[in-house]
Assembly symmetry: C2
Homo-oligomer: 408 residues x 2
């Protein structure tokens, strides 16, 4: 018998969005014109602000290429501390740890909290949910997450959560994600307050609040963190990836109560040493300059226009989809179940979101991610940080492909 | 009861070298002239080659700021594949996974291999050993590593390992590290062959071969990997941190058998997404240009001069230390036990390496790391990637401080 990964490592699924990306890349290599709503990144359509690129480059040329302290470069911790104040949050620099990406920040929280031999070692997440929240608990404890479904408006139900926490004493971590991937939903402050009230009754349970889309909120809404209501139980995950359109730069952070942050910094130091220092220095400079969020809101505004165009095209051409207008992030998550039971021109009956997504790739060159990849079958995820041309033509192509389906 | 890290996360120790760094930084802030042999990095004494900095900067300006595939940018995988050939190793690009730093690469191997519920879930390491190899098994399984001591020449004993593997069926991973941190020892090829022969009798055991110092080998010796002898059971860890003097840039990689690498890439994708893309692109360019290893050997040669000066000063001035000439990396690990039992001018009896290290900081401003931090008490680690001035004056100061000790 040769080398084998652990049984838990064997159980985790590949990233569906990276899988979809490789399908799209293959089609592109075959010379096809693809309308790619698959992966959640804005580059090259919306490039990283020049100010940030120049500051990273300058730090590199200045030989800022040595280790930083494990929790992060002091300059950056100070800058994140000041930036969090803009969102009404008060964390000292010693309550912040910088990680190589928001996904890594999520992983480090899970490594620090999810011990397979503890009574409390389960992670709770609300479907639809981001891929990592399914896989990380399996990788670390062998146990899948507890998945609660959101309601018809894609919002969590505090009563349902209260019932779970009253019955189940194995919960260690609850994941909240607003603005949400894959739905674009923004949780209303009143809902965050209700959730905080429920979770606050169980002082040893931690909220992992994924807020990487905090600067991408539309319609004059403001981003509110559950940490405003529940500071002692929240580990807030933020990062530059989405808000500066630099997903490949990999810088995230965790903010939380000091006692937890010491342990997280120690985990970080033992597993990563530190984060790419020129990127840390550059982001510190960027945050100090972007105190009015102007550069980040430029990216939001460009995305807002794309949202408008997508909503309009979809509303006009894709009549049988059921959806609500997303308020944040750059995802759109329509319910496509009314198209199920219809037949393709080749005679195939479409019964699932996965079959529908595959049909759209093959017959319309339109790439989306099936909702079942996010534990919410029947939907499709559109990441709309793409060109207006892609949106306009892509939706037309998609509508034509849907129109070619025949009702049996 | 409030939030608590897991019992395992609570047990891991802070990084001793980062702890020592913070002591040195504090003394520097107090305005003291410090002779700092504490932390293993070369910057700013030996800066990152300009070619590499320029290539990273160019990639950034060219907007290479999107995600790469989880295993790494195809261009970089190709470049690492070609570079490994220079060391006599034949891995295809699909047998390589890029990680955010060599320490992260080690962590990802441990996450993939060490399952607390498996029979085989123990890590074996040879003392003296690098801090991560102590902490990671505790963090992931609650169990400390099995630590075998090396012999008087700081080399592992294949017979001792054979006895362990015959008696103990819980071993999953064996860590080898040549050139070695903290000793500077380079394992002779014949020893690697013997170790491979022993481990090869147990096909399901994996060797984690930490080779981050592979380009820093002196005296005309050549770096040899145990993967040359045991390719099907070796996961090789390499990285740019030490060989390009860019510890803060954080790029490492794993090369190994394809079946394992698929699982590792999946772990990587679910926990890190990918590595800072401008750094990946820049390193790919660097490797393509440095096919004769000239730029990396320039760094080695600068370190070699420092080794000579350190050896000479130590030999002349520190008569009661016992040591062998290190053949690789940039560490020197003398046995200082003959100084134990002596008394400081303040009347303190020095009985341990930790007391001795503290005395040297306080009375000579010389920073070293006690060997007991690496599971080998009685020694001190000197990281000598520092200026010649630091070495010359530092060793003089150290010798004077040792001369002030009185034998009872």
């Amino acid at each position: 018998m040769g080398l084998m990964p652990s049984a838990w490592a064997q159980q985790i699924k590949p990233s569906p969005t990276l899988e979809i990306k490789s399908i799209a890349d293959r089609l592109r290599q075959e010379g096809k014109q693809i309308y790619d709503f698959g992966i959640g990144e804005m580059n090259p359509e919306l490039p990283v602000p020049h100010l940030l690129k120049a500051a990273i480059s300058q730090a590199l040329m200045d030989d800022a290429t040595h280790y930083s302290p494990e929790a992060g470069d002091p300059e950056l911790l100070e800058a994140i501390h000041a930036d969090l104040r803009l969102f009404g949050l008060s964390y000292s620099p010693s309550e912040i740890v910088v990680c190589p990406g928001p996904k890594d920040a999520v992983f480090k929280i899970c490594v620090t909290m999810l011990n397979p031999t503890s009574r409390r070692n389960r992670l709770v997440t609300f479907a639809p949910t981001y891929e990592s929240f399914e896989n990380l608990p399996i990788l670390l404890t062998g146990k899948p997450p507890i998945i609660l479904q959101t309601d018809a408006h894609l919002l969590p139900d505090p009563n349902q959560l209260a019932d779970l926490l009253n019955q189940d004493d194995t919960v260690a971590l609850i994941v909240l994600n607003s603005p949400n991937n894959p739905t674009g939903t923004v949780y209303p402050p009143s809902l965050l307050g209700e959730l905080a009230e429920v979770i606050g009754r169980h002082g040893q349970i931690c909220v992992l609040s994924d807020e990487v889309y905090r600067t991408i909120v539309y319609d004059g809404l403001e981003h509110v963190s559950i940490a405003s209501y529940l500071p002692k139980q929240t580990l807030l995950v933020g990062g530059m990836s989405k808000e500066v359109s630099g997903t490949g730069l990999r810088l995230g952070f965790i903010a939380g109560p000091e006692a937890m942050m010491g342990a997280i910094a120690n985990v970080e130091g033992n597993t990563s040493s530190c984060v790419n220092l020129p990127t840390q220095k550059g982001y510190a400079h960027f945050l100090r300059k972007d105190v009015d969020l102007r550069l980040r809101y430029q990216i939001r505004d460009a995305l807002s226009i794309r949202r408008e165009v997508l909503m309009e095209g979809f509303g006009e051409l894709v009549k049988d989809a059921v959806w609500e207008r997303p308020s944040g992030a750059f995802y759109f998550f329509p319910d496509m179940r009314r198209y199920f039971g219809r037949q393709t021109p080749e005679g195939q009956l479409l019964n699932t979101d996965e079959e529908l997504a595959l049909y759209l790739i093959e017959s319309a060159n339109v790439v989306t991610v099936p909702g079942s990849k996010f534990q919410r079958p029947g939907h499709l995820r559109f990441a709309y940080a793409v060109s207006l041309e892609t949106i306009n033509t892509g939706i037309e192509q998609l509508a034509e492909a849907l129109a070619r389906l025949s009702v049996e």
